[in-house]
Amino acid sequence: MAEEIKTELSAEEIWTEEAGEKRSIGVIHIVITALLIGIGFVVGAFGSISFPLGFGVNFFWTGIVVQQVGAIWFGAWGVIAGAIFPFFSNAIAGTPFYVSLAYLPANAIQAFLPAWAFRRFKLDPRMKSGKDYLFLFLAMVVSSIIGALWSVLVVLKGFNLLTADSVPLFIWGWFGGNVVAGVVFNFILLRALSAVVIRTTAFVKKWWA
């Protein structure tokens, strides 16, 4: 491994297949999905227990990093893991089964959107330019707004857990808890490990392989 060539890939090259390159779904993707669920389970539960607002909503949700960085690196597998693991981490942190289940689409969107932005706009996961930061930040904000609206309006209201007047608090709670944690973790983690990840076989260029 030590004699690895340092080929500086451009952001464009990271996301495009070389001529003749064969990429296919393999056992490694199943494993990655499982490992991401595992990390998310621990990291997410940690956030949910440490900074609770209630019903799995919290001020500083560390799980977001697994959700968003995971999907940027591992495409659809990261999205799947990002949608599923909050179910378990919330459960451990004391969120009722069906409430957790109903958060699923919100979590899927939060994982999907940044991953989509990176692939659509050919951003560099190693965070090389201001554009990378700006677009990731926007993706984080937009996805968290959608996530917050879904989870609070559809779920908490749907389950009749909140009054209409307290909805803003929870929307802000969910949104802020995600974006603040995301800002703290996402950039640093991407900077620290993207260079490593894109050279591994587990890295997903398109959505599935």
């Binding site: 491994m1 030590a2 690895e4 340092k6 900077r191 620290a192 490990l193 260079a195 490593v196 050279r199």
Partner: protein, 281 residues
């Protein structure tokens, strides 16, 4: 030999994990500056736990550990890391930064040294472990296990602890790499006066390098003494599921052949043999 005051004193140490597992029982131990010790025993015998107690990562459940006059129970992390450094078994657990230079600088920065001092210590540590320049800006993830281990050792060295504990330095290394790492630990011991403690399963390595062996089994110390002596205590070794290196076994096998049962290295054995042949001629 003059009687030196011990640098580390372990008094009636017990350690229990939060889940109730008794990991260490009635440990009493004195370590003097400049020793080269091998901590041996089966997996799960308590070697790693003891090491983590020595540098204050674990606080004793009962008993005390005094390092350089400080009780580990009452000392801060910074006080301890300047005295006892512990290199983790799996280097991946202790690599936090995205290039080797920053990784080695991480510790010194944590204890809030000035930039110049950080630089000086990193350069020194890099030199001591012999990390080639091309790797300084490389991500530690991509280094071979042997090199990652060196970065891990350098990262501890940069804190300049007096005692350096290395957990399984030779696991997964070939013999040549093992000898390289061990030679370099021996250098630290000889030239720089560091006290070295290695945890290992590699008996030939113990025979060649360690001057003192502490053998553990079931959370207790079963034997403690000069290497050659411990390797002759066959009953104790059986209890600790250990066997002396093959050369020692050869020397011990037939007392009539007249080899010293405490023989540790091939060179030693050859020397004895030549002496015998010389005497006969």
């Amino acid at each position: 030999m003059t009687e030196k005051a011990p640098y580390i004193q372990v008094i009636d140490l017990d350690f229990e994990y939060p889940d109730g597992t008794q990991a260490l029982k009635e440990i009493n131990l004195e370590i003097v500056k400049g020793e080269f010790i091998a901590l041996i025993g089966q997996n799960g015998s308590g070697k790693t736990t003891l090491s983590k107690c020595l540098n204050g990562l674990y606080k004793p459940t009962a008993g005390d550990i005094i390092v350089d006059g400080l009780n580990t129970k009452k000392s801060s992390i910074v006080q301890m890391v300047k005295r006892v450094g512990y290199v983790f078994q799996n280097p991946d657990h202790q690599l936090f930064n995205s290039n080797c230079w920053d990784e080695i600088a991480y510790g010194p920065r944590n204890i809030q040294l000035s930039d110049e001092e950080v630089k000086e210590r990193v350069e020194e540590a890099i030199q001591v472990v012999g990390l080639p320049k091309i790797y300084h800006s490389e991500h530690p993830f991509f280094l071979s296990k042997g090199l990652r281990q060196r970065v891990a050792i350098a990262s501890i060295l940069a804190l300049r602890p007096h005692v350096i504990i290395v957990d399984e330095p030779t696991t997964g290394q070939d013999m040549k790499q093992s000898l390289e790492i061990m030679d370099f630990l021996q250098d630290l011991n000889d030239k720089h006066g560091h006290t070295i403690i290695i945890i290992t399963h590699d008996m030939p390595i113990v025979g060649i390098y360690a001057r003192r062996v502490i053998a553990m089994a079931q959370a207790r110390i079963m034997a403690d003494g000069p290497t050659g002596e411990v390797f002759t205590q066959t009953e104790v070794l059986e209890k600790t599921f250990l066997a002396p290196p093959q050369i020692t076994q050869l020397a011990q096998a037939d007392p009539d052949l007249g080899f010293n049962p405490g023989t540790l290295t091939v060179e030693d054995m050859v020397g004895q043999f030549l002496e015998m042949m010389g005497r006969r001629e």
